[in-house]
């Protein structure tokens, strides 16, 4: 068993820094990150609202996250834990978002597919970082030095708003895709799959199947 490499990375990383990263490396981030998920994507990409930040100059790190946080009466923020949400649901927006925002680091939970990486990430020179656990919310919260701003809170609510976070040594994250579009989770699943047959010995498929799990509309189900 070998411990993974630990690497400090800027949230506006150079292409060279990204090229250095290998699947399974552990990364800690310095700089500004922002949260953006379905609410921000729909507002920016489908309603064509102006993004209220200078991207990617301010940050090239898009976090799929809603923090456990509150906006106090005096306008200050209380931020506790920070954890990512599952990214595969955002696949249809991620390509257009990277083109629009110049994001180089997509940070979330569970990664995306190698097809997504090859289609959207590789042409944009971007990689995927997964949070660890899930979720190391308290550790990630410690890495946040300050909440710099919250955009679109009125329009989208606290959970979907664009939180701009100043980070120092924020992590751990694990490199889940590289610049060639290789996928850490698919690599692991390929290693696990051959052994599953043994675990399934002594089991039997259910007598009543579920209609709709295939596209065969003539399926008898039984």
């Amino acid at each position: 068993m070998s411990a993974p490499r630990k690497i400090a990375l800027s949230t506006t990383p150079t292409p060279e820094a990204l090229a250095e990263l290998r699947l399974g490396d552990v990364v800690y981030l310095d700089g500004t990150i922002y949260t953006a998920r379905e609410g921000v994507y729909m507002r920016a990409l489908e309603k064509n609202a102006n993004i209220p930040m200078e991207l990617p100059a301010e940050s090239a790190a898009n976090f799929h996250c809603s923090p456990a946080a509150t906006i106090n009466g005096d306008g200050s923020f209380t931020l506790g834990a920070v954890t990512a949400t599952a990214s595969f649901r955002f696949a249809k927006w991620i390509g257009p978002w990277m083109e629009r925002s110049g994001a180089k680091l997509i940070i979330g939970k569970g990664g995306m597919s190698s097809a997504d990486y090859k289609r959207d990430f590789v042409p944009n020179g971007a990689i995927y970082l997964t949070t660890v656990g899930y979720g190391t919310g308290a550790l990630l919260g410690r890495g946040v030095q300050a909440v710099k701003a919250v955009h679109w809170n009125e329009e989208l609510g606290l959970a979907q708003a664009m939180w701009v976070l100043e980070c120092s040594g924020m992590g751990p994250f694990i490199v889940a895709s590289d610049l060639d579009g290789n996928c850490l989770f698919e690599r692991e699943n390929a290693k696990i799959a051959p052994g599953l047959a043994a675990a399934y010995e002594g089991t039997r498929p259910a007598v009543l199947k579920r209609y709709g799990e295939t596209d065969d509309r003539t399926d008898e189900v039984i």
């Binding site: 809603s66 456990a68 954890t83 569970g110 656990g133 609510g157 751990p172 043994a198």
Partner: protein, 320 residues
Amino acid sequence: MISIDLIQSTAETLMDKAAIEIPQDYLDGLRATAAVEDGDLSSFVLQAMLENYEAAKEDRRAMCGDTGCPRWYVKMGNEAVVEGGPVALEQALRQATANATNGVPLRPNRVHPLWRTDHDNNVGIGAPEIEYGFEPEPGQWIDLTTVHKGGLFGTDYRMLFPSDGIEGIRRFFLDSLVAFGKRGLACQPAIIGIGLGGSKDTCMVLGKRAACLRTVGDRNPDPEIAKLEEEFRELGNSIGMGAMGFVGKSMVIDCHIEVGYCHTGGMQMSVHAFCLSSRRAVARIRADGQVEYRTDPEWFTPYQRRETVGWNNGHREAAE
């Protein structure tokens, strides 16, 4: 009579404890799992989680950014009387949920399913859920348990039939673990709860309570079911997958099975994963103002699992 102000202030403390302090039984279970995990990435993840629990307690911040959906399990002794009655009780629990959401803070997860609108306080239509149980145990007391179950993944239901048998149960168990374990969507290793029987809704309730209201190491009093629980824990840990879906052997911290009588032709089954942030906190409040905090809900008592028509002085009546 049990003071309503004491109920609300205790409930607020419970919300804080649940979000921040990992229950000791789960922590011990995870440490034991981490000690034998030999997948390098899986092992790194478990160590990071153990550090995370410490950071949460030191900083008094929520252990996970997704603070789940707060809900309440209320159990009352047969003689308990709450000041203001059940309506005041529900109001106090809703108020405590809202106050703690802004106070801890928690993530205001709860939104309207269609309009996606919310009150930024985890309170809304049907939220938080409040469920009830009663006990013959004497004395004026009320147990409040809050569970902040996280995760959109890891839960599934299927109508099986007697002919599916144990092979079918095993199959659906594995299907659920693998489907939600890939990429770690179930936030494993988890306490897996399995509901068997009842009807569709009660099967889901049984499985969820098996996951959330029993502690690591607890066994079903039916020795055959207890054996199944242990078999399924080992089975889950033998599929070659660990934390985050990486190569490893840590999927199941423990497995709990609860059963309910069902239709003679069916065998309902549900699977629930109570994640790496298995948030639960309990307090017993008495009429004399005493409050005792604990992490074991002690929900599944002989009375909750009773099979017979009557119940006399704590003694089970003969089945006939």
